[in-house]
Structure formats: C-alpha cells, structure tokens
C-alpha cells in the first residue's frame, strides 16, 4: 500500500498502532527516502520546541503567579507603598461604583505592572521624595501639576491628573500619572506640608490624553482600589475642582 504523508507524520509522532508501524517499517526497508521524511518531521519537532523553549526558562511575572494563587488583582501590581487608611469600618458602604471607576477597572485589567525603578525614585528629578518613616511626598513637576493642573482641563504631557476627590479624612486627593522616566501612577492627598503620596506604583508613561474621562480610564486598578477606600462622595466635577484649586486645596 502507498505510504501517505499522514502515516509518516503519525509514525514520527508515535501515533501509529503496531500494525501501522510494521507496515511503515517494512516500506522503509525498501525505500530509504521514507526514513529521510521521518527524520524531517523529527527535526521540525525539535526546532519548534527549541524556538519556543525560552518561555520555560524565563521567570514568570509575579502577577501571573498571583493570579494562579487566586490573589485579588490589586495585590498583583508592584505597589511601592500603600498606606493603610482604607475606608473606616463605620463609614457607610458606598452604593455602586462611579461610572469612571468602572471604565477604569476595565482598562486596568490590561495594565502590565512593572517594577518601580527605585534608583530613578532616588534621584533629585524623581516625582516623589521619601520623607522620614518612608512617607512619600510629591515634588518638582508632580507637585506643581497637583497644585495647578485641573483634571477636567486635560493637561500637560509630563503629568496627567486623573480624578480629584474629597477623602473621608476631609482632604483633597488627586490621582496622577507621571509620564517621565519609568512612569509612575498614584494618589496624592493635600496636607499642610504638601502633597503626601499614600500610594504609587510603576505605570508606563502614557500618551497625552484628551481629557478627564480618558485619563481616568487609564488609572491602574491598585490606584483605583486606593481611591475606593478613601473617597467620600463622588469625584469633583469641573466646577468644584476649580473651586478647590482656588482655595489652595485646603478644605
């Protein structure tokens, strides 16, 4: 009988039954070309395994290990520091999630968390400085943007402001995305001594956004989580935001 390519392939893959193997081996004895064809199949198999072997040797990203362990996505990102002031237990449960936050959560599932370059954060040009006790405060362009830039007004390229809101501590807080260096996304709250950053995470620089809503949709999930734990009421709208800015972000 004729030896089909399918039989040769199945032989190379170990998928032929005993009768099929016997037939093929008998044919091989008469026609050396068949052995060459089997070898070609085996070689292809080896070179494919070789070409894709790299994935097996590379370290698996933390977020995937966390996903396999069933950890909530918020914990999979590399968060520099997440202050523990979540919503107070006695605070009434918020009804529903603001619309912008829903969009944000969808977009944030696509965010790839990368490790924050601590060396970059240690330079004077870094957007945040570490105070005593490891507390982060905004400085330089980030601090200026937090002071002057309106979320509703779109914004500068170096820093994008996502949303502004009142915290359940009464402070004004704003989410930001620094589009310089390694990129940094986070949350800053205005205190007497300046903009304190309760949490920030590595977040690749983003292209300039058209405005408020688009910017909010790019807020990474851990930042949104922190906002959810901290927000009192709804995010500021353009009018209340402008008023807060005019008051120097002092409640």
């Amino acid at each position: 009988m004729a030896i089909t390519e399918e039989m040769i392939m199945a032989y190379a893959d170990g998928e032929l039954d005993a009768a099929g193997r016997a037939k093929l081996e008998a044919a091989m004895a008469k026609d050396p070309e068949i052995a060459g064809r089997i070898e070609a199949h085996l070689k292809l198999r080896a070179s494919l395994a070789d070409a894709f072997g790299g994935a097996l040797a590379e370290p698996v990203p933390d977020r995937l290990v966390a996903a396999a362990k069933g950890a909530p996505p918020a914990k999979t990102a590399d968060v520099v520091e997440l202050a523990k002031f979540r919503a107070k237990p006695e605070a009434p449960a918020k009804r529903g999630v603001p619309r912008w936050a829903q969009w944000g959560a969808i977009a944030a599932t696509l965010v790839v968390a990368v490790v924050v370059d601590r060396a970059w954060l240690a330079t004077p040009a870094a957007p945040v400085a570490f105070g005593p006790g490891g507390q982060m405060a905004a400085q330089g362009e980030l601090a200026t943007a937090l002071d002057d830039q309106l979320a509703s007004g779109g914004g500068g390229k170096a820093v994008a402001i996502g949303v502004s809101f009142r915290s359940n501590h009464g402070q004004y807080c704003r989410t930001f995305q620094v589009n310089q260096g390694q990129g940094l996304a986070g949350l800053a709250c205005r205190e007497a001594r300046g903009w304190i950053v309760p949490m920030a995470m590595a977040s690749a620089p983003q292209a300039a956004q058209a405005g408020y809503r688009t910017a909010a949709s790019e807020v990474p999930a851990p930042v949104l989580d922190a906002v959810q734990g901290l927000i009192s009421g709804e995010p500021l709208d353009a009018k209340t935001e402008a008023a807060a800015k005019a008051a120097g972000w002092r409640p």
Binding site: M9, D13, A40, A51, G53, L64, A67, A68
Partner: protein, 164 residues
C-alpha cells in the same frame, strides 16, 4: 495555596509558551495567560480529577483567545504589532546563528493560519497526543490530523525539511 493552585503555578511557564503561539506578542500572551488562569480557578469544580490539567487549561485558554479576538474584532481594535525584537521566543539562544534560526521557525509558525498553528503547537511543542489535542481544540481527531499534515508541510517546505 492548595494542590490545585500549586499545579496551576507549575503550569505557568508552559501556559506562557502556548499563549505566545496564540497571541504572537509577549504582552498579549501574558494577558491571555492571566485570563485563562483566572477562569480556571473560577471553574475548578468542572475539572475532572485524574484527567490532564494542562489540556484542560489549554482549552480554557483557547476559548479565552477566541473571545478576545472576537471582542477585538467587534471593537475594531488592532492587535499590538509583533515586534521583531520581541518576537524571538527563545531569549536563551545566544549564538547569532541559532538565534536567527529560532526567529525563522517562530516566524514561519506565526505565519500559519490559526487552525493549523494550534494543533502544531499542542502536538509538536507541548507533546500532546492527537486525541488530547482534539479535545483541547474541540474538533474531531481526523481534523487535527489533516491540519497537522497541512501545517507541517508548509513549515517543512520553508525549511527544506524533506531531504534537507
């Protein structure tokens, strides 16, 4: 972490490898792995103990990929372009000669239609049997065999497989 989660963690490198065949872009591939793993955990009660966990998760990943491609097509979004530098699946390959070969093989596989690419990856890279590949892809075994032959012939034609 229980035994099931430990097994999923152990599978991650292979899931990433398979995802790169599907998505052809490493970032998309890892997103796909994440979705597949999350779904696998959600549906763990549906996994029959004693059967191959890898096949089961591969099937979940294949379906997640189909969902993703459909939704992207609906939204008219483009796939991230496969960049030359990132395309080399094996970062360990240091010698330029081997590296070029790896890129060529990878490129050739990526160029195949998905219906041939998947059976080839499951059988030739992941080492599944034809029957197991048919179960992952949810197609008859005869279809797997014919797609394997067509895909391999195309690959071997490029690499001068026969008689080379």
């Amino acid at each position: 972490m229980d035994a099931f989660q430990t097994e999923i963690v152990d599978l991650l490198p292979r899931l990433r490898r398979m995802a790169r065949v599907l998505a052809r872009n490493p970032a998309d591939a890892d997103d796909l792995v994440q979705v597949a793993v999350e779904r696998a955990l959600e549906r763990r009660s549906q996994w029959a103990a004693g059967t191959r966990l890898d096949s089961w998760v591969f099937r979940i990943m294949k379906n997640a990929w189909i969902d993703e491609t459909r939704s992207r097509t609906r939204k008219g979004r483009v796939f991230a372009p496969a960049e030359e530098g990132e395309r080399v699946a094996d970062q360990r390959v240091v010698s330029m000669e081997t590296r070029l070969e790896a890129t060529a093989v990878e490129r050739a596989l990526a160029a195949l239609p998905e219906e041939q690419r998947l059976p080839i990856a499951l059988v030739l890279i992941e080492g599944l049997s034809y029957k197991e590949a048919a179960e992952v892809l949810e197609i008859p075994m005869g279809t797997v065999t014919s797609r394997l032959v067509r895909g391999r012939m195309a690959l071997m034609a490029q690499f001068g497989g026969r008689g080379a």
